[in-house]
């Protein structure tokens, strides 16, 4: 039986989407977009965190080493990077709060008797508004950050 199963399996292509399945976030609505952004911003913030630890560890090299490191953030690219940090951290935190509520079934509605056209209760505007708020606040924070970082030049 096992051998038969193995033979069967080798005759099939697994067809699993893998990471490719994550690449297009526009197919399944706001929640999938938020899932994608949450991953992306999480990875970006992880990279930032590693860089940040490296940056601050330069303090042990003395004031000059520290200042040289700070210089990096005073360039145009440095500013753009910092603006991205502001936007991603704002989105990640606010969407994270939304997910704490959603993943404990708050704001998702109650089970009921489904009727045509079978709209899913959990994909309602109450929990979805958390995504919109996260996006709007992230954009506002980035705009404010840009005005401070670039406006002062």
């Amino acid at each position: 039986m096992e051998a038969f199963k193995d033979k069967q399996d080798s005759n099939k292509w697994s067809n699993r989407e893998g990471l490719k399945g994550w690449l297009n976030p526009t197919r399944y609505g706001w929640e999938r977009l938020s899932y994608w952004l949450m991953r992306l911003t999480g990875l970006f913030l992880l990279l930032y965190f590693v860089g940040h630890v490296y940056e601050t560890s330069n303090l042990v090299g003395g004031l000059d080493a520290w200042n040289a490191m700070l210089e990096l953030t005073q360039t145009t690219y440095g500013h753009i990077f910092l603006i991205l940090v502001i936007g991603t951290s704002t989105f990640h935190s606010i969407n994270g709060i939304r997910l704490i509520f959603a993943e404990t079934a708050r704001g998702l509605g109650k089970p009921g008797r489904p009727d045509y056209p079978y709209e899913a209760g959990s994909l309602n505007n109450i929990q979805r508004s958390g995504i919109w708020v996260a996006l709007i606040l992230a954009a506002a924070a980035m705009l404010y950050g840009s005005s401070v970082l670039f406006g002062g030049e």
């Binding site: 067809n15 609505g29 089970p111 959990s122």
Partner: protein, 277 residues
């Protein structure tokens, strides 16, 4: 208005729109691939006449019956009940029999096998792994300690509220659309998937079942319920309004014991119904 009754043979006066009145042609691209091959961009195209109510399944059957009998498709009920005609239609998992061509808003329809299911041939995929996940959560009522006050041969009584707790989740037709849309299933073969997890909640919320601990210990795994990140895609594609994402979050909220504890509420409901009867 005077009603006119026509005998079956007297069809000349029936003014039905003829098929040709509102038909148009679409291009139906069907993914073609078989065992032992992973064909990239392997599609055959067929020109198919469709009218207002033609479903994707109708178009596929037309192609198979009249243009190319070698196309492999699977279907049975043609009415969104058996769950066998799931496929990716224009990029989204849908039931072919439940998707009208007109609602897709395009004259080019591309049908591909459901992602995350091993491919057998063309549009036919293997559901073994999906069913294995479903079986694993023990999807049947278990009650080893029935209420001794209830006559052995009588049925379990439930109030309408108790039924509402799980009814929606029992509408699942095991079509696998949710499984194929889920981004966690896409990367983790051990993840039970939205269908099985929602069914775990369906039995958990059923006042007749008392295998709560057993079932929860199955889904409480590092590849289990905790790997759901509420991407919501399962509920988005579900054709029966099961809303698996809701079931999963409700089950998880209970497991973390930081929400309303549905089981407690159910116990109260059970108590009330007993008092009432």
């Amino acid at each position: 208005m005077k009603k006119k009754f026509l005998l079956a043979r007297d069809t000349s006066e029936i003014n039905l729109p003829r098929a040709s009145d509102d038909t148009s042609d679409i291009v139906l691209n069907i993914y073609r691939g078989g065992p032992n091959q992973k064909p990239e961009n392997s599609y055959d195209s067929y020109r198919v006449p469709v009218s207002r109510w033609t479903t994707v399944l109708d178009a596929l059957i037309y192609a198979k019956e009249r243009l190319d009998s070698s196309v492999a498709i699977r279907y049975s009920c043609r009415m969104a009940s058996c769950g066998s005609c799931g496929m990716k239609i224009n990029g989204i998992p849908r039931l072919a029999c439940y998707t009208k061509i007109s609602e897709l808003g395009t004259h080019t329809i591309t049908c591909e096998p459901l992602p995350n299911f091993p491919l057998i041939r063309d549009l036919v995929t293997d559901f073994q792994e999906f069913f294995d996940h479903h079986k694993k959560i023990q999807p049947y009522i278990q009650n080893l300690h029935p209420d001794p006050s209830i006559d052995k041969l009588s049925e379990f009584e439930q109030t309408p509220q108790q039924v509402d707790e799980f009814l929606q989740f029992s509408y699942c037709i095991k079509c696998g659309l949710c499984y194929s849309a889920c981004p966690t299933v896409a990367t983790d073969t051990k993840f039970p998937g939205p269908q099985a997890l929602a069914q775990a909640y369906r039995y958990f919320a059923d006042s007749r079942d008392d295998a709560v601990e057993k079932r929860l210990s199955i889904v409480d795994d590092k590849h289990g319920i905790w790997r759901c990140h509420f991407a919501g895609s399962c509920s988005k594609v579900c054709p029966k309004g099961v809303d698996p994402a809701l079931g999963i979050q409700m089950l998880r909220s209970h497991m973390m014991s930081i929400t309303k504890k549905p089981k407690k509420r159910l116990a109260e409901l059970r108590e009330t119904s007993r008092e009432g009867s």
